[in-house]
Symmetry: C2
Subunit: 248 residues, 2 copies
């Protein structure tokens, strides 16, 4: 029985785009578990999560936050949200598939998304304004309305312009530079954090990479920049993750 | 030939107190390497580091930051500063002793101190004001002068008072609660991040614990609070690290 993986569609050929749901797709592909994606438009996420009885571990202003990814595993009857919690569930339920948290490293990897995300914050203003045009109309309207309320401005006004854009992009480079320094600490034993085999931290980074690629496009100057930074680190990293990028 | 470990003395019976140098002491004791502590007062740190030719990886306002810990290893002729860099050096130079970064996890553990430290920030205002009275006069004067310049206020005015103190202490509890959640992810396999054997992340937490104990005292309400929090997590954690706390 296939796991049902709930993701948010875009109008791009690949459909997939969200950095958070990408983490779960990487996990499912990495473990080689049979699954099927069910595409859910933004306004349908909350009703779906309520039906499944799941909510993200993260609450916003004290109320439940309904976001994807979520999965339903018909083999166990379990429904679960939050990419980290899903990864832990998959390792525990399917211990004979490759481990996302090898050597009992779940605790050690738990703060990684926060640390990496905090370095990557300047990136958000480059990516978020591009989302609306890539989503289907119902999601696009929902995304714009909720995000403009959060940021208190038009999404288009988030995107840095002119010299500001150059400065902010340099911050993105510095943020990835810190991740490059972490990755280098494996002594060149492979493109990933622990060497040749990816783990949770790599899927976190991979989720951002997939998001950048879908938001700005492979022909963008920014995507070419990234491939050239840090001695080709990201080119090698992205190549290494390709075999876990099947969208089914 | 013994490694020389440079640490900052206090007037407490144990002398040791600094969370950063404690990390290195934990590493040296954990690896069972022969070493000898050389105690360095604050104003003597910069001349010592210049003599050794070391500076912390961290720069402040673009200039070198001279802090301890540092070590000099006469077996290799290497001098090195920064607790993380020292730990990496020790693992690489002495690979047949217990590994601080087992399973190639140095990169994965690199952001840990930042993530944990950011949760622990409210703690600093409780601890920093107590330091001066515990240092020897030359260090005490130096510490007060430089820290009051950094914080722009008298050290005594950093300490939260009254209802504010209760609120800030609750933030410390919440911060440790996040670390408790990370530690719980090892599935109860031991008091430490990876189970029964400590690693770098545990020495980071241990350094804070040792600092709290030296700053507030084992008889303080705060220390008793910590022992009672999170189902006795920290009592168990502190007990587990005891055998690596020899000060030589």
């Amino acid at each position: 029985m296939k796991i049902i993986f709930y993701d948010i569609p875009s109008r791009l050929p690949l459909k997939a785009w969200s950095p958070n749901t990408w983490k779960t797709r990487y996990c499912l592909n990495f473990k080689g578990l049979p699954y099927q994606t069910e595409w859910v438009e933004y306004p349908d996420i909350e009703p779906l999560c309520k039906k499944l009885g799941v909510s993200s571990a993260r609450t916003v202003d004290g109320t439940h936050s309904y976001t994807l990814p979520a999965i339903h595993d018909p083999s166990t009857g379990v429904s679960i949200a939050n990419s980290f919690d899903i990864a832990e569930y998959l390792d525990k339920t399917y211990p004979n598939t490759p481990l996302i948290f090898p050597h009992n490293t779940a605790g050690l990897q738990a703060p990684f998304a926060l640390a990496f995300g905090s370095n990557m914050r300047p990136l958000l203003n480059f990516l978020i304004p591009t989302e609306c045009e890539k989503l289907n109309p119902r999601s696009s309207e929902y995304f714009r309305r909720t995000r403009e309320r959060t940021f208190g401005k038009k999404l288009e006004d988030l995107a840095p312009q002119g010299p500001d854009r150059v400065r902010e992009w340099a911050k993105v480079e510095r943020g990835l530079g810190k991740a490059d320094a972490w990755l280098r600490k494996n002594g060149g034993s492979g493109p990933f954090m622990l060497g040749t085999t990816p783990c949770w931290a790599d899927f976190v980074i991979g989720g951002y990479m997939a998001w950048i690629k879908s938001a700005l496009g492979e022909e963008s100057e920014e995507w070419k920049d990234i491939a050239s930074w840090h001695d080709g680190r990201w080119k090698m990293f992205i190549e290494g993750l390709k075999k876990y990028e099947n969208v089914v």
